[in-house]
């Protein structure tokens, strides 16, 4: 067992040794910090997106019912609401129009959300998502930040959209959504249910889906099963299922990118192994001198270990800090196209990276531990250089 005072001396010598070879040490640290930066950025971005989705789904209905024909969704008759009246536990059923509007000028698809918030329990809470203005009344619309910048030009108070027969429907701007809700609302136009029907030329007794609010949240899945049994031609989706879908989408994309980055990490570890295996004549001489003047083989091994710990921990702290800055202050600009690729209007999210102990330790184990293994094991070859070679 090496004493504490001796360990301190070996750490002292490790620092001096790294400083003497500062060019080589800095090169390794820059590459290593780069790999850690990429891995940590992905981990933080994925976590921030998943958290943002979870926060925003608080606004989503607990259960959504969509009518299916031939495996595809079609409009649902409002009379379906009455068929559900026998189910205890349903607090309210709100018809909704959820569709897409293609803007030929910008080439973007907008999400149209039409519902009557006043008919929903806690519907007024939707107002909390609105930055300026109020919930939309007849012929009014609340815009997501992206749509507002594009369609309303930032300062228009009235604008028009085309109906399917190419006649124009005018809207007054009632407000805009908060930037924090960008993940779901960036490309959204939120309007009155009747206006949405009018815009899409839908019949008055139809909606795209029905939103169900339940009295007891713990009964959501039971009620969803009952609805599915009563309405066999519908798809019943719970909020929890939507949340899982978000997690799966981000998780899959993040996983794919992580595999690519782990390949880069593996290449770096092989490079580190190769560097650690080859000893320069100066290094051989240094080790033989240290050994003949009384350093143990274990001292040399511990010395190399501390060098590896210092290089890898400094790289980890630098890489992880840069990743935090990248996600927090630069909105993860390097990875947005990969993680948010499906939308035409890429949401300009304000990401809030969270540093989770478990995930930080995972990155630490995926990077620092392989590096230490790759450098300490070949260091054994250096440590067993015979002491008498200093005499020759």
């Amino acid at each position: 067992m090496i004493s504490f005072a001796r360990q301190l001396n070996l750490i002292d010598y490790s620092l001096s040794s790294l400083w003497r070879r500062r060019g080589k040490s800095l090169g390794v640290m820059v590459v290593f910090a780069g790999v850690i930066f990429l891995l940590a950025s992905f981990q933080m971005t994925t976590r921030a997106l998943t958290d943002a989705a979870a926060d925003l789904l608080a606004y989503a209905p607990e259960i959504t019912i969509q009518k299916m024909t031939a495996g595809r969704q079609e409009s649902i008759p409002l009379e379906y609401q009455e068929k559900l009246s026998s189910i205890w536990g349903i607090r309210a059923i709100t018809p909704r129009v959820w569709g897409y509007y293609f803007n030929e000028i910008s080439g973007a698809n907008y999400t149209i959300l039409g519902l009557d918030p006043h008919s929903m329990p806690l519907g007024d809470q939707l107002g909390q998502a609105i930055d300026t203005g109020a919930l939309p009344e007849a012929h009014e619309v609340v815009l997501g930040q992206g749509v507002n910048a594009e369609v309303a030009g930032g300062d228009k108070s009235i604008f028009s959209l085309f109906r399917p027969d190419l006649s124009l429907k005018a809207f007054a701007l009632a407000g805009t959504f908060k930037a924090e809700t960008n993940l779901l609302t960036y490309d959204t136009l939120f309007m009155n249910l009747d206006d949405a029907r009018d815009l899409f030329a839908m019949a008055e007794d139809m909606a795209t889906d029905l939103c169900v609010t339940v009295a007891n949240p713990s009964e959501v899945s039971t009620i969803a099963k009952k609805i599915a049994a009563l309405l066999p031609d519908t798809r019943v989706v719970t909020r929890q299922q939507v949340q899982k879908t978000y997690q799966a989408v981000f998780g899959w994309r993040s996983g794919f990118a992580s595999i690519c980055l782990l390949t880069a990490l593996a290449s770096f570890i092989i490079f580190a192994w190769d560097k650690a295996s080859g000893l320069t004549p100066e290094e051989r001489k240094e080790i033989s001198v240290l050994k003949i003047i009384g350093w143990q083989t274990s001292d040399v091994l511990v010395l190399r270990f501390w060098e590896g710990v210092i290089v890898s921990l400094v790289s980890f702290v630098v890489g992880y800090t840069l990743a935090y800055i990248h996600v927090s202050f630069f909105e993860a600009s390097l990875f947005r196209p990969i993680l948010l690729g499906w939308s035409v209007l890429h949401p300009a999210l304000r990401l809030r990276p969270s540093v989770e102990l478990g995930e930080t330790l995972l990155i630490l184990c995926l990077t620092v531990v392989p590096y230490l293994a790759a450098t300490v094991i070949p260091a054994w070859r250096a440590a067993i250089i015979p002491a008498d070679s200093a005499l020759n």
């Binding site: 001796r6 001396n9 002292d12 001096s16 008498d388 005499l391």
Partner: protein, 228 residues
Amino acid sequence: MAASLIELEKVCKTYNQDRPNQVRALVDIDLSIAANAMVCLQGASGSGKSTLLSVIGCVFPPTSGRATIAGKALSRMPDRFLTIHRLNTIGFIFQHFNLLPGLTVLENITLPLMPLGVGPGERRERAGRLMAMLSIGHRANFPVSQISGGELQRVAIARALVNDPPIILADEPTAHLDHALSLAFMEIMVDLQQAGKTIILTSHDQLITRHPAVERIIGIEDGKIHVP
């Protein structure tokens, strides 16, 4: 008669034993060196001189025979304990000094103290005393690549002495020094001997072999001791 500090009996050292490239570097060496002596090992290249120095310096144990250095038998001593014994007993001065070029004078001198767990303050204090004694105190924070040959030699001596070992081994110490520096080196060795150290030198330099303080020349040829 002074007690023997170094006692070798029938010492043999064979490299690559029982292999086709086996080399018998030392054959039945009997040698006794008293404490506080100054002796010189002499022999041609490949005669076994460095191997004998390595056995005396506790770098490795003999293949057979009995080697007792400063009261401890080396035979079958594990490498770990051999290193500890070497750290406490032997001070090495090498032919090319073998100082580490990126380190300062002070850092080079204190290297043997690091595995002993000696703290930075005490390391500086011990090295400071030696640097003052050897007149290199003003060079303490200079990299060894920036000091003269004579100063390098004194740094190497200081490093050998910093653990206060009873035995100093100097391998061809004057091979790359001019006459004046060689004389200065021997003066320091004489001072160390008078301070109670046992000095073992290897050299072909007549300045050493004919120096009055060198009381014995030990010749080595083909791994055996012979009287020159």
